[in-house]
């Protein structure tokens, strides 16, 4: 083994590092291309569609809650006691027969 062989090894090692640099550049370029694609396509359609779909689902849940509250109120209104119906009917009779307005 001689100095010449060391120089040769040094050259091979430098080439090895250069190859790593080339691979690194490829990795970064691939990521950039992927990001570009992601921004131009995915952003415009998929993400918006998915987000709106999620929001719509949450709104539908909220709407169902609102309707549930109204339903409960309507049920309460329908379940008026007979005594109250009787009192109101008496009022109507009184107005009709009583010539009062």
């Amino acid at each position: 083994m001689s100095i010449a062989s060391i120089l040769l090894e040094e050259k091979k090692a430098m080439m090895y590092v250069e190859e790593a640099r080339r691979k690194a550049q490829e990795i970064v370029q691939k990521a950039r291309a992927e990001a570009e694609k992601f921004l131009s396509k995915t952003t415009e359609t998929e993400v918006i569609r998915r987000k709106l779909q999620e929001y719509e689902e949450s709104l539908r849940e909220e709407a169902e809650k609102i309707l549930g509250e109204y339903r409960a109120r309507a049920e309460k209104l329908r379940a008026i006691s007979d005594e109250l119906v009787e009192r109101a009917a008496e009022l109507v009779v009184k107005v009709i027969l009583g010539h009062e307005r």
Binding site: A31, A89, G98, R101
Partner: protein, 202 residues
């Protein structure tokens, strides 16, 4: 330099080269991850700004419809309750008429007085009083001393009277059905206040 020293040097050259290559590749991976993360963030931001107006429209459409449907339910429920009251009131009125209660006779008398006062006059001619057949005897008794000419006629009404003069210029609608029809908006309001004030506050 000995053979061992040269071998050690060679190993060191490769160790450094591998370390350097590994470092370069790791840095590249980190950079790639950063680029993709930045793209995702930008995409999210862009999407967020683009969907805000869509969200507002969706909100108005979905929640607006829920509130509108809910309000319809309340109106329907209230109308059902008020109609129930009117049905009950009609039953009661039929009973009043059938039993000829004092309240009903008093109502009939006042209706007759109002009708005669409203219709009679110098050119009134004969006054025609229309009533339920079952009330004709009561009315005959009530009008026997009236100075105007009165004709009693049976009509398909529940109770009370409708009247007009033969000249046909004046009419009076005092039947129970007419009064109910005329007073329904006012009664609807009064009944609603009575029913729902208690229900909605209780």
């Amino acid at each position: 330099m000995s053979a061992e020293q040269l071998e050690a040097l060679k190993k060191e050259i490769w160790r450094r080269a591998r370390e350097k290559a590994e470092s370069i590749l790791m840095e590249a991976e980190r950079e790639a991850e950063r680029i993709l993360e930045e793209a995702r963030r930008k995409a999210e931001e862009s999407a967020r700004s683009k969907i805000e107006s869509e969200k507002l429209l969706l909100r108005r459409r979905i929640l607006g419809r829920a509130v509108s449907d809910g309000r319809k339910m309340i109106i329907l429920a209230k109308n059902e309750a008020v109609e129930k009251v009117f049905e009950r009131a009609l039953e009661k009125l039929r009973k009043e008429v059938k039993s000829r209660s004092e309240a009903y006779k008093s109502f009939l008398r006042r209706s007759l007085e109002e009708a005669l006062k409203y219709i009679s006059g110098p050119d009134a001619g004969e006054i025609v009083i229309c009533a339920n057949e079952s009330d004709l005897d009561l009315l005959a008794d009530m009008v026997k001393d009236t100075p105007v000419r009165v004709k009693l006629e049976k009509a398909p009404i529940m109770g009370g009277i409708n009247a007009f003069n033969t000249g046909g210029r004046k009419s009076y609608y005092g039947s129970i059905e007419s009064r109910l029809e005329a007073l329904k908006p006012v009664l609807h309001e009064k009944v609603s206040i009575l029913l729902f004030r208690e229900v909605e506050m209780g």
